[in-house]
Amino acid sequence: MSKPIVATASLAGCFGCHMSILDIDERILTLIDLVEFNKSPIDDIKKFTKMCDIGIIEGGCCNSENVENLRAFRKNCKILISCGECAIMGGLPAMRNGIPVKECLEEAYLKSPTVDDTIIPNDDELPMILDRVYPLHEIVKIDYYLPGCPPRADLIWEALVALLNNKPLSLPYEVVKFD
C-alpha cells in the first residue's frame, strides 16, 4: 500500500506552526517513513501533483491568494486540519479586524515613518487584501482543529499518528489547558 500523502501551507501565519512541526525532532525521520509530502514548504513543492490524504494549514486568510490557496487545499485534500490560533481564530493578524481597511493601508504605505512611497501598491499581480482576516472554517469546511500558538510539537505528532492509525487522539488535561 502506498504511503499517506501530506500537504502543508502557511497562509496569514508566521511559520511558527511549521517550526513546531519541525520540533518533533528525530521523530521527523519516522514521519518521513510514515508519509509522503506533497505541496509543502517542507519539500518546496509549489503545486499539488496528486490528491492528498491530509492537509495541514497554518494561518488565517488575509488576502485573495490565501483564499485561493485554501480552496485548492480543500479540493486536493481528503482531510483538512486547521493548525494553530491564526487558522482557527484569525490570531494576531485579526487584530486589524476592528480597523477600517482604508486606515490600515494608509498607515502601512503612506503614513508610516519608514516609508517614502506615495501610493498604496496596486499592481495586478499582487494579492488583494480582504475586508478582514478570516479563520479558515468560515471559508471552507475544516475537519479537525489543533489549537495553540503554536500547537505543541507533541500535539501535532500525536494528532498525525492518531489520524494515520485511525485511532482517537488522547487529550489529557495538560494538553488542553491554556493558563
Binding site: 485573495s64 485548492a72 493601508l105 494608509e106 495586478d124 475586508d131 469546511k141
Partner: protein, 605 residues
C-alpha cells in the same frame, strides 16, 4: 475652549468635593456643560481629582450615555427593543435621519442633533419611545418626529416639546412627562392603599430580628428575578461584621420589556422608601442608596421631593419612624446607561463611581458591598413587598402564590396584545390566564423574563409564572402569529452583544459568535452542523461566563431551539454538511477601491 474646559471641570469637581465615588455624576455634569467629555476634559478631571486618567476614561467609555465626542445639543436616544420594532421603529428612525440630516450614531454637521440607538428604556408599553436630553417621548410616529425635529431646529427647550402628559403622578409639576402608567391590574401588595409612615412604625415596634423573622415566615424571594430569599439575605447582612451597613435599592431595571419599577417609582415611591427604611432597621444601616437607571432621570426631582416629604414627616432622618436612635436616610445615585449594572455587584461598583463590572463572588455584597461594608441589595418591588409584609404579616403574604413562590408579582406586559401595561398577578398564574387578561390570545410565543428568560410556545401556555417554573423579573413580551421569531431572537442577541461588559471572554466573544452564527442561518447558509454548534456554544457561554449576563444571554437561542426548532430547521440547507457566507469578490472591494485597482479574481487552482 481650553479655559472653558478648565472652568467647567473645576466647578463640577469642586461641587462634588472631589469625591471619587461621585465620578459618574462629575462626568455627567461635565458632559452636560461641554457636550462631551473629550480627552482634555478627561485629563483635567483626572488631574483635579487625583485619580488616574484610565479611571476617568474607563468610566466615560463604559456607559452608554457618556461620550468622548459631541452628542449634539439635542441628543436623541431611540429605543431599539423588539417591541419598538414591532410598533414601527424603522419608520420612526427613518424620519429622524431624513429630517435631521444625519445617520444613527452620528451628530449633524452643525452639532445641533445627535441620533443614537439605545437599549430598552423601560417604555415597552408605549413604543416607539426615545429619550431626548433625558426627556421621554413615547408612541412616536412620523408626524411626531416631524414636529420634534422642527422644534429642535427652532431651538425650543426639550421640556416645552412635551405637550400631553400621562396619567397619575406623571402629571405632577416635578415630572410633567408624557409617560403613561398603564396600571391594568392592581393587587393587594404593591398598589393597594398605603398610609405613609405606618409600615416603618410597625417595624420599629419590633426588634430587627423579629422583622427579619417576619420576612422569613412570608417566604418572600427577590423580585428581580433570581429569587434569593430576602429574609435570609437581610439576616446575612445583619450578622456580617462591619463598621457600617448599607441598604441599596436596585432601580436599574434594564431587562428589555420590564417597566414595572418605573410605575412603582411613579405611583408608590413612599412605599418603596419605607421598605428601604425597614431594611435599614433590620440590617442595622443608617444609609440607603437608590441606584436609579439613567433612563429614569425624568423622575429624579420628583423622587427627591418625595424623600424631602418623608424627612419632614420623620419617616426618614434622625429617629426615623419615631424610633429613638434609629437614624436612616436615602440618597439617589444615578446610573449612566448599562444593563450590566442590574447585576448587584456591578451596581455597587457603579454606585461607587467606577465602571459597572461585576465583582468576583465570594465575598458577596452582604459581606463586602458598597464602600466595602456589608450591604443588602434588593429590587424595588422587593422593598415594597417587605413594607407590606410588615403591615399585613408574613402568613398573609404566604397565603398567596405557590409553595415556592409566595405572594404576588408585578409583570410588565408588552408586545402583541390589546392591553399592554403593568399587572399585579398571583405567583402561579399560567401563561394562558395572563394572555386572556391582557387580550393577547393569538400569541404564537411568549417571552417570559425578557431576553434572558424563556421563549415558550403554545404547548407550554399551561406553564406557571413562578420561580420553580417560568421565572421572571417582570418582563413578559407577547409575540403575535405573524412575527418572524428569528428576527426577535436576533434583536435579543444584538442586545446582549451590546451590553456585555467585556470582562470575560465567553460572554464578550461568545455572544458575538452566537449572533454571527444566527445570522448565517437567517441568511439561508446554515446547515445541520451549524445548529449543533449553536447548541453547544450556548452551553459553553452559559457555563463559562462570569456573571448572570453571560450565564443567561444565550437563552433567546437556546430556548427557541428547544421550543421552536422547526423555525430553524426551515431555514437550514438540509443534507449539506457545510456552507459558507464568504464572498471573495465582495470582501476585496474596499481594499481595491482604496488602492485604485479593479478586482481580478483567479479561478481555483
Amino acid at each position: 475652549m481650553g479655559t472653558n474646559i478648565t472652568a467647567v471641570v473645576t466647578g463640577v469637581v469642586d461641587a462634588y468635593k472631589k469625591d471619587r465615588s461621585r465620578l459618574l455624576d462629575i462626568v455627567r455634569d461635565v458632559q452636560a456643560q461641554l457636550g462631551c467629555v473629550n480627552d482634555e476634559a478627561a485629563a483635567q478631571i483626572a488631574a483635579s481629582m487625583n485619580v488616574s486618567r484610565v479611571d476617568v476614561d474607563g468610566v466615560v467609555t463604559f456607559y452608554h450615555f457618556f461620550s468622548k465626542t459631541p452628542v449634539g445639543k439635542y441628543s436623541v436616544y431611540l429605543n431599539n427593543s423588539v417591541t419598538a420594532q414591532m410598533n414601527g421603529r424603522a419608520a420612526v428612525a427613518k424620519s429622524f435621519t431624513d429630517l435631521a440630516g444625519c445617520q444613527f450614531g452620528q451628530t449633524t454637521a452643525d452639532g445641533l442633533i445627535g441620533l443614537f440607538d439605545t437599549s430598552c428604556i423601560g417604555m415597552n408599553d408605549q413604543e416607539p419611545a426615545a429619550l431626548i436630553n433625558g426627556v421621554v417621548f413615547t408612541r412616536l410616529n412620523a408626524d411626531k418626529v416631524k414636529s420634534i425635529v422642527g422644534d429642535m431646529k427652532a431651538g425650543k427647550k426639550v421640556e416645552d416639546m412635551v405637550r400631553d402628559h400621562g396619567d397619575g403622578a406623571n402629571q405632577s409639576a416635578l415630572v410633567k412627562s408624557m409617560v403613561n402608567n398603564n396600571i391594568q391590574r392592581k393587587g393587594p401588595v404593591i398598589f393597594a392603599p398605603f398610609e405613609s409612615g405606618k409600615a416603618l412604625k410597625a417595624a420599629v415596634a419590633k426588634s430587627p430580628d423579629d422583622v427579619i423573622e417576619e420576612l422569613k415566615v412570608s417566604n418572600i424571594r427577590g423580585r428581580g428575578g433570581a429569587g434569593f430569599p430576602t429574609g435570609m439575605k437581610w439576616e446575612f447582612c445583619r450578622k456580617a461584621q462591619g463598621a457600617k451597613h448599607y441598604v441599596v435599592c436596585n432601580a436599574d431595571e434594564g431587562e428589555p420589556g420590564t417597566f414595572k419599577d418605573r410605575v412603582i417609582l411613579t405611583e408608590a415611591p413612599a412605599l418603596l422608601f419605607e421598605g428601604m427604611a425597614i431594611g435599614g432597621y433590620a440590617v442595622g444601616a443608617s444609609e440607603g442608596v437608590l441606584y436609579l437607571r439613567a433612563e429614569y432621570m425624568y423622575l429624579r426631582k420628583y423622587l427627591e421631593d418625595v424623600l424631602d416629604g418623608l424627612r419632614k414627616k420623620s419617616v426618614l432622618g434622625a429617629n426615623a419612624g419615631g424610633k429613638s436612635g434609629f437614624n436612616f436616610d436615602i440618597k439617589i445615585q444615578m446610573g449612566a446607561g448599562a444593563y450590566i449594572c442590574g447585576e448587584e455587584s456591578a451596581l455597587i461598583e457603579s454606585a461607587e463611581g467606577k465602571r459597572g463590572e461585576p465583582r468576583n463572588r465570594p465575598p458577596f455584597p452582604v459581606q463586602n458591598g458598597y464602600m466595602g461594608y456589608p450591604t443588602t441589595v434588593n429590587n424595588v418591588e422587593t422593598y415594597c413587598a417587605a413594607a407590606r409584609i410588615v403591615l399585613e404579616g408574613g402568613k398573609w403574604f404566604k397565603s398567596m402564590g405557590t409553595a415556592q413562590s409566595a405572594g404576588t408579582k408585578l409583570v410588565s406586559v408588552s408586545g402583541d396584545c390589546r392591553k399592554p401595561g403593568v399587572y399585579e398577578i398571583e405567583f402561579g398564574t399560567t401563561v394562558q390566564t395572563l394572555l386572556e387578561l391582557v387580550d393577547g390570545r393569538t400569541a404564537r410565543a411568549v417571552q417570559v423574563g425578557g431576553p434572558s428568560g424563556t421563549c415558550v410556545g403554545k404547548k407550554d401556555f399551561g406553564r406557571r409564572i413562578c420561580y420553580d417554573d417560568l421565572a421572571t423579573g417582570g418582563s413578559i413580551i407577547i409575540i403575535g402569529p405573524n412575527r418572524d421569531l428569528l428576527e426577535v431572537v436576533h434583536n435579543f442577541m444584538e442586545f446582549f452583544v451590546e451590553e456585555s461588559c467585556g470582562w470575560c471572554a465567553p460572554c464578550r466573544a461568545g455572544n458575538q459568535l452566537l449572533l454571527h452564527k444566527l445570522e448565517k442561518i437567517m441568511h439561508g447558509h446554515g446547515t445541520e452542523g451549524d445548529l449543533k454548534e449553536l447548541e453547544s456554544w450556548c452551553k459553553i457561554v452559559k457555563s463559562m461566563s462570569r456573571c448572570g449576563l453571560g450565564q443567561t444571554s444565550p437563552n433567546p437561542i437556546a430556548t427557541t431551539l428547544q421550543n421552536f426548532r422547526e423555525v430553524y430547521e426551515a431555514k437550514i440547507r438540509k443534507g449539506a454538511d457545510y456552507d459558507t457566507e464568504f464572498d471573495l469578490l465582495a470582501s476585496v472591494q474596499e481594499s481595491c477601491r482604496v488602492a485604485g485597482r479593479i478586482p481580478n479574481i483567479h479561478e481555483e487552482h
